[in-house]
């Protein structure tokens, strides 16, 4: 029982990270109908940005309060990663808008390869162990054992929840959110009605990048190690989450993320850690095949 609850907590932590990345996939897919292949690597870059900023702040600028350091890293990381995401859209996707469908896909894959190797070249191929922070754990007695929640996990939950609420408010209540939904429905009509479609798409990438950077910071502090190749697998899993929740649906992305996190943790805990990625990929295939519109997505009817 304690073991199960412990795995539940670990799974939800991991799931929060996936959920944050998944939102970037789901929004971009909703608005321009393409899988932003480079998003996983944007996440990876953001983890590196967070790592470097954290070291810079704590070792060189003498910020002693870890809370303050993390806050600065969070905010600065969001800006810097959003800038990456924005530039990627301008360079790799915008020139291809409205062209041949495969071209943006290849361009996105090219961008992903570029980002991966860019980080490898600038930061070296080795794993980077991050300074360990927030190691204190809370122990909650349960049954004849106990369950532990680390400060890191607690922080991940809280930040994810706050950000999601803030983000939800943006999409539901603001002009930007309305413009986004209009572009999702019918881009040409939205343009005719005076919505700046290009800017809306840019902002979508910016938001996606900012949320991915939060995921990157959490990933870095949770695992305590990052590597240039860390973008691909979490990226595919987050995409799985987006699909599982119903692509285009924001709450779906979060629920999907949590589910994928849970499944992965439980699978490792009870079956085989070797095959945990196989499990994630199999779920992706199974969901897409049997439930292509996901949990919360709209079914797509073939019009003749």
């Amino acid at each position: 029982m304690e073991y199960f609850v412990q795995q539940l907590i670990n799974g939800l932590t991991l799931g929060s990270i996936y959920g944050l990345i998944a939102i970037g996939y789901t929004m971009v897919f909703g608005i321009i109908g393409m899988v932003n292949f480079a998003h996983g690597d944007v996440f990876m870059i953001s983890a590196f940005i967070a790592l470097i900023l954290l070291i810079l702040l704590t070792q060189f600028l003498g910020v002693t309060s870890i809370g303050l350091a993390l806050l600065i890293v969070l905010v600065a990381g969001m800006f810097l990663t959003a800038l990456w995401s924005w530039v990627i859209e301008r360079i790799a996707y915008r020139p291809l808008a409205g062209s041949f469908r495969l071209a943006p896909l290849i361009s996105a894959i090219g961008m992903a390869i570029f980002l991966l190797n860019f980080v490898q070249v600038t930061q070296g191929p080795r794993n980077k162990a991050s300074p360990s922070i927030l190691n204190n754990v809370m122990t909650i007695p349960m049954g004849n054992g106990s369950v532990t929640i680390s400060e890191r996990q607690a922080l991940i939950f809280i930040v994810t929840a706050i950000l999601l609420l803030a983000f939800w408010a943006i999409v539901q209540k603001t002009k930007l959110g309305r413009a986004q939904r209009a572009c999702e429905q019918d881009r040409r009509m939205a343009a005719l009605l005076g919505i700046n479609v290009d800017r809306t798409i840019s902002l979508t990438f910016v938001i996606g990048g900012a949320l991915a950077s939060v995921a990157g910071l959490m990933f870095m502090s949770y695992y305590g190690v990052v590597s240039f190749s860390d973008g691909f697998t979490p990226g595919v899993k987050a995409f799985t989450a987006a699909v599982l929740g119903g692509i285009g649906s924001l709450p779906g992305a979060v629920i999907g993320g949590l589910l994928i996190g849970l499944i992965e943790t439980m699978w490792s805990a009870y079956f085989s850690i070797d095959y945990k990625d196989v499990a994630a990929f199999s779920i992706l295939a199974i969901v897409l095949i049997f439930m292509p519109s996901g949990l919360l997505g709209r079914p797509d009817v073939e019009k003749v």
Partner: protein, 474 residues
């Protein structure tokens, strides 16, 4: 960033501007430089390093950032100036266009060049250098030509997006590795020398079988969803190869018997008669072997080309293309699109499997590292860059992409500029990724976008312009 682009080019007679709008250009370049600065901080500005106590620390690289920012600034300014003034004196004025008769001859000329290439390489670079050119370039490129032609059936003709094609390559390679290394020696060891030729058809059939098996569940999926599921399948197969250690030996891989000339080894440590002995050939065994590999893969690739050309003129091939154009219309004409898709998957997979078996025999070693997603992405990029459906275009793209990647290995002269610690190999994939983006922006429809009709009322029909050809939804 384009909001402050530097004016209109002179050739655009509408608004002739008296001089180059230098302020606008500077502002634009400045903006680009600023963005570059933002991107460089902190990922370029600081390098993460381990210090003596194994603690991670960082080291500033201000010069590198300065260099990057300056390069972007100058590059942008230069680009704007070039765009404004045009470059008639540097670029050839006449566009490179082939007459229809020349185009007809292109495949024949290409084939002749391919046939004499190894001897040409031998002539130019001698015994020592030739192996590199024949094997690293010739054989390597031809493997990708074959893979891309195989994938072309699925993506280019049938219009089904497949991001997991490397799975079938892996199936072929492991089929060869397992059968040639374990099965044949354990059952009929006498057949050992023939292992490659026995395994080749088996690998093809197994891969086709896997193509159908993986094709079945994804029949209903379209577009990017199909791409993602095929990617997932490719990864699943690779992960199983890594983790199923009892059979595949995991990451350590399997050492396979080297290819022989129908039983005659090319080199022997135990003093057997070799290929060179029997035919009393000059030159080293390595050259013999690479030549043999070269002509074998050339024959296999040509098999794919001939099969594709024939299939295109058969009902199945026309149904593939029709399905790419409009699947619903196909069904309204009584075409069973399920079978049509599965055949495309199976035949594409079969060619991938054949290439895989060859790869296993050439390397003498297989492990899961050779079958990562990057391979699928590269093959797909070749198909798209070639212009989907065009054999010649795809072959040219394979030469450009794989040849380019291999050539980037040769950039050691850069060491003289950047110092001995500079490793040009590292930049290979970086440049490759960027080139993929630029190529798509430059030619989203690929090098040869036009489609050759499969039948004509009178003699030979002219090619169909790319603007009418669809790309498929699946």
């Amino acid at each position: 960033m384009d909001t402050t682009d530097g004016g209109t080019p002179v050739s655009d007679g509408a608004l002739p501007s008296p001089r180059f709008p230098i302020e606008d250009a500077l502002r634009s370049a400045g903006l680009w430089a600023l963005v570059t600065l933002g991107l460089c901080f902190p990922i370029v500005a600081f390098e993460t390093l381990q210090d003596f106590s194994n603690r991670l620390t960082i080291e500033a690289r201000p010069l590198l950032v300065l260099f990057a920012v300056a390069a972007v600034f100058a590059g942008r300014l230069g680009w704007l100036a070039v765009r404004y003034h045009g470059l008639p004196q540097l670029l050839p004025a006449t566009r490179f266009e082939l007459t229809p008769e020349r185009k007809k001859q292109l495949p024949r000329i290409g084939l002749a060049a391919l046939l004499i290439f190894p001897f040409f390489a031998l002539l130019l670079t001698g015994q020592g250098g030739a192996v590199k050119w024949i094997d690293n370039f010739g054989v390597q490129i031809l493997i990708y030509v074959m893979l891309a032609w195989g994938l072309n059936i699925v993506v280019g003709l049938a219009g089904l997006l497949d991001l997991g094609y490397v799975a079938f390559y892996a199936v072929g390679a492991y089929a060869y590795a397992l059968i040639a290394t374990y099965v044949i020696p354990a059952t009929v060891p006498g057949l050992g020398p023939w292992a490659f030729w026995i395994c080749l058809p088996i690998a093809g059939i197994l891969a086709a079988f896997w193509g159908i098996l993986l094709g079945f569940p994804v029949l209903r999926l379209r577009g990017d969803y199909l791409a993602i599921v095929t990617l997932a399948f490719g990864e699943i197969i690779r992960l199983v190869l890594i983790n199923w250690v009892e059979v595949t030996n995991g990451n350590a891989g399997i050492r396979t018997p080297y290819i022989t000339f129908f039983g005659l080894p090319f080199s022997s440590r135990t003093g057997e008669t070799t290929f060179g002995d029997v035919f009393a050939l000059p030159g080293s065994p390595a050259v013999h072997r690479s030549m043999f590999l070269y002509y074998t893969i050339l024959a296999l690739a040509l098999l794919v080309a001939v099969a594709t050309q024939r299939l295109r003129r058969l009902p199945i091939g026309r149904a593939w293309e029709a399905m790419r154009e409009d699947e619903i219309a196909c069904r309204s004409l009584g075409i069973n699109t399920v079978n049509t898709k599965l055949t495309a998957f199976a035949i594409g997979a079969m060619f991938g499997g054949l290439a895989g078996a060859f790869f296993g025999a050439r390397q003498g070693f297989v492990n899961p590292r050779s079958f990562e997603f990057m391979e699928s992405a590269t093959i797909l990029a070749i198909v798209v860059l070639g212009g989907m459906g065009s054999l010649v275009g795809v072959a040219i793209a394979a030469v450009a992409v794989i040849g380019g990647i291999e050539l980037l290995r040769e950039l050691s002269f850069l060491k003289q500029i950047f110092g001995p610690e500079f490793d040009p190999g590292q930049y290979r994939m970086l440049i490759f990724g960027l080139a993929m983006v630029l190529m798509m922006i430059w030619r989203p429809r690929g090098l040869v976008g036009a489609r050759q009709p499969t039948i004509a009322l009178d003699g030979n029909a002219k090619a169909i312009s790319a603007s009418h050809v669809k790309e498929g939804h699946g």
